[in-house]
Amino acid sequence: MTQPLILAIESSCDETAAAVVRGGTDVLSNVVSSQIESHKRFGGVVPEVASRHHVERITYVIDDALTEADVTIDDIDAIAVTEGPGLVGALLVGVSAAKALAFAHDKPLLGVHHIAGHIYANRLVQELEFPLVCLIASGGHTELIYMPEDGVYEVIGETRDDAAGEAYDKVARTLKLPYPGGPRIDQLAQTGQDTFHFPRIWLEKDSYDFSFSGLKSSVINAVHNAEQRGEVIIPEDLAASFQASVVEVLVAKAIRAVKEKGGKQLLLAGGVAANKGLRHGLTEACEREGITLVIPPMHLCGDNAAMIGAAAIHPYRAKRQSTLAMNAEPGLDLK
């Protein structure tokens, strides 16, 4: 079977991205135009600003992806696009462009779930073995997903309030760190000590769900109390203490899920997969427990379109095509 060539588009948040992927595994190009510099001044992603940037950049990014892959649109077998979840105005730009391409060249149109993309970013590095468990941690998501087989997803745990990345950004704001705060916290934590002993939020004994808002409040209270008492907070220690709590809970629940579900691999996915503390914690725990850990390389952790092209191989092979009536689905469930 010849391997299909898929042109994939991703615009769910603040990266305008396009990629050409062969057979779901072979990345021929992976172009990401980040808007982070534009959103820094607002201290976070502003949806209307993000949507405007996507329109400005979308065809440049698509053209670059084709050029870098050294193919033309005629060589492409299908157009894949993130249909959700994400910011609706941002998603609509990618969806509109993908539909125009599919219509203009009479190519199959494939809608891809953003989180499925993050999961399949791992397949760009290593063959996946099922059943497996995937820990998703990003600015918008914290989930544990059980995959009994290729292309089948079962959400076994999710956050009940803030996503892990969201808690990172809020703590960073409390420490007056520049946006995006997550990587800065991680950096500070490398040289700090867990001196604050913030609570670990486990929820019910057998639950795979997460909660980070209580931890976030504890951190903010610690900072405010110190300010009122005129004490100096060591940012490195605060960051290390916060990170220790997040990582301990994420790692413990992920490891328990792998054991209870009989997973052959543990996958890490999402933007927080770039977090050194989490990578280190998971690596150590997996070595101890004899679990195979798969972590995407740094450049595939954040939002990109190669991961969408990787995940698109399922709807492509199953001939599960979307129609030209495809909409952006900001709250799309992973099925």
Binding site: S51, I62, D63, V88, L92
Partner: protein, 217 residues
Amino acid sequence: MKIVAIDTSTKQLSVALSDGTQIIAEASYVTSLNHATKLMPLLERLMQEANWSPKELTRIVIADGPGSYTGLRIGATTAKTLAYTLGIELVAVSTLELMAASTGRTGRVVAIQDARRGTGFVGMYEDGKRVGDEQHTTVADFVAALPADTLMTGDTEKFAEALAPFEIVAPAFRTPRAGVLALLGATRIPVDAHAFEPRYLRLAEAEAKWIEAQRHD
């Protein structure tokens, strides 16, 4: 020439095909609840019925705003991607000019889109030629100084009091039509598809506040 014209800037969705001198086909949803799901199926249907294939197209004409931000982006992204990927011309025409032209009337026409809190996006046209800049402004102030023989079109109900002295175009001619858009754009100079952006005529709210804050610093 095989021209496709698209307008998604207001609550109306309109698509047309034209050979540059005639309107071949035109279809509109006067109140489309979802441009994102309706635009491409409608375009596909018109083209199938006219027996046109995408590869034969020579030009895309898009109404580039002002209008609903989301609506503008759906149309703009679709139009620029089609033009880019088919290697054909992209022409942008003001939505306000399109509204004025869709009245079918000569003389002075003012097109108004409601932008809330008494403001609107307004543009004035005289025998099809733009007079002054299109702008986001207080509608009552804008029309106060105009001669009484000015024709009003667009979201006129929202400004009934301020527009009382003026003739309001009949409802049947008050909505922008892609057929009119196709003919307006048939002979205009194309823009660069890659660089094309809709004209929002207003900054994103966060951007406006940020600029304001810089001014105070």
